[in-house]
Symmetry: C2
Subunit: 304 residues, 2 copies
């Protein structure tokens, strides 16, 4: 069974890990968000691709939810002492990957080829692809003005309310090599329990990807990231409420209008109504068992 | 008293530390070798400038003789696991400096300005300047063929005999901003106990610097890096023997013909004859006390 997941980091990466455990090697492709990508001290950082890679490779720090376990923090602390930027945290082990990736990007290799090579080196059974090899950057408009995603999310601790989200470069961005082929031959399409505006939205903003999902022959299932109308982490509930007027399953489903056949929601959000079929289950992931169980629910919904 | 020292890393950096201790703040300028500079994973590394900076700032690892004390090695170890180069060692704290420098160089700032800023941030009382802001790279010709300095020194463990040394780019390299002014107004010129071919040679290969020393009004004193005809560390004795026929003070002095007024040699190398005045002392540096004492001997020889 060929499965394609569109995902950010965080909860999406945990869900991807559940899918990898539930599927056979070679069955899973994850199309990762690159709207959060940024340059720190000249290094190209792809936070969501890295969370996916680290989660699937068993390298992620599960407590922190990003970066690597058993991490040290000396390089950027020292860089700050020499006058370097200090607003974005990167661990030393994590930095090793950014150094290699940045060097290869400067040599002209596409992000997708580098990411696939990293998956092979990590020995993971899934394929991770960036949505696009072209430049695509998420920005938010807030009462305090517009910000790039990371300026707002990390730099300002996502304290500002969000009035709108834009995806710079999305108009010209082409799906990365392999993405459309995987989408077109998939037996199941899944949208991860990631922020629809900030994590799944930038992927769907790539016109070729959206069109491939619109013309799907497989069912497409979205995983709601809300539990009882609240975000497990992050600002989604505030964003959804401010931009769409509520945080019910209907408000989530409407963000994916025309793209999904069912929405998996938490027991805490039922009973509910929505423009698509609803699948009710416990959606909190607290370890390998619950990740895998949620993945099974999603796969069953896709095969229904 | 204004003192200018031409120096590599290693013994040169220890000697620079002795001079800094012997002089008043603002009196010492060190012109550092950049012939060893290299790019690792896209990062610009200046090993000799960094050894000087770390030694003068009290950050160097004295046992290892390079890099920072209390170091960790996670970033490059991880980079190697992702396919990055693994032949050159850089610690995590050290990496912080390379990240900041590389980022600023890419933004168009000259190496000399960045180095001066680092000196200020480290709060050191000396000025460190690269010999040149232009590209200058040392290479060696060996029976196994030509190699860049670091390929031969680190990559091949300087096992090959050396038939000749070349300084690529030296013909076009201009002295970095401030170097000629410091040389012309110096009350004492010193050549560090560094390898004359590999550390002091690349500095003197910059025509403007050599000319400034030739036209000197201050005395110029060279520190022999040999003890009893042997190098304290590194391949100098083998190089000197093969390329000039011996390892006596005369062989060292002749490398600096026309540039020095005296050569400070170790007791183990006396009695000896040379085309310049010889100053005999104990030259081994085993700690702050002996570094400072050797610096005093050099300064007295310069004022003779």
């Amino acid at each position: 069974m060929k499965v394609v997941l569109l995902s950010g980091g965080g909860g999406g990466a945990r869900f991807a890990r559940g899918l990898q455990a539930a599927l056979s090697p070679g069955e899973l492709t994850v199309v990762g968000n690159v709207g959060d990508d940024l340059e720190i001290l000249g290094l190209h950082v792809s936070p969501d691709l890295d969370s996916l890679l680290y989660a699937l490779a068993g390298l992620i720090d599960d407590e922190r939810g990003w970066g690597r376990a058993d991490e040290t923090w000396n390089a950027l602390a020292t860089a700050a002492a020499w006058g370097g930027e200090r607003w974005f945290r990167l661990g030393d082990r994590d930095l090793g990957l950014h150094l290699v990736r940045t060097h290869r990007l400067r040599d002209g290799e596409p992000l997708s080829a580098i990411t696939e090579d990293f998956c092979k080196r990590a020995g993971i059974a899934a394929r991770i692809l960036p949505a696009t090899d072209d430049r695509l950057r998420t920005s938010v408009s807030t009462p305090a003005g517009p910000f790039t995603f990371q300026e707002w999310f990390v730099g300002r601790g996502h304290a500002d309310e969000v009035d709108g989200v834009a995806y710079e470069g999305a108009g010209e961005a082409r799906p990365a090599s392999g993405v459309l082929e995987e989408l077109d031959r998939a037996d199941a399409l899944l949208l991860a329990p990631s922020n629809p505006f900030l994590s799944v939205g930038p992927i769907l903003a790539v016109e070729g990807i959206r069109a491939a999902i619109e013309r799907r022959r497989a069912r497409c299932i979205a995983m709601s990231p809300l539990v009882g109308g609240k975000a497990v982490t992050g600002p989604l509930d505030r964003m959804l409420s401010r931009m769409t007027g509520g945080t019910t399953p209907r408000h989530v489903a409407e963000l994916y209008a025309g793209l999904i056949d069912a929405l998996v929601i938490d027991e805490a959000d039922a009973p509910a109504e929505a423009p698509v079929e609803l699948v009710v289950t416990r959606t909190r992931m607290s370890g390998p068992e619950s990740e895998r169980r949620l993945a099974q629910v999603a796969l069953e919904a896709a095969c229904a």
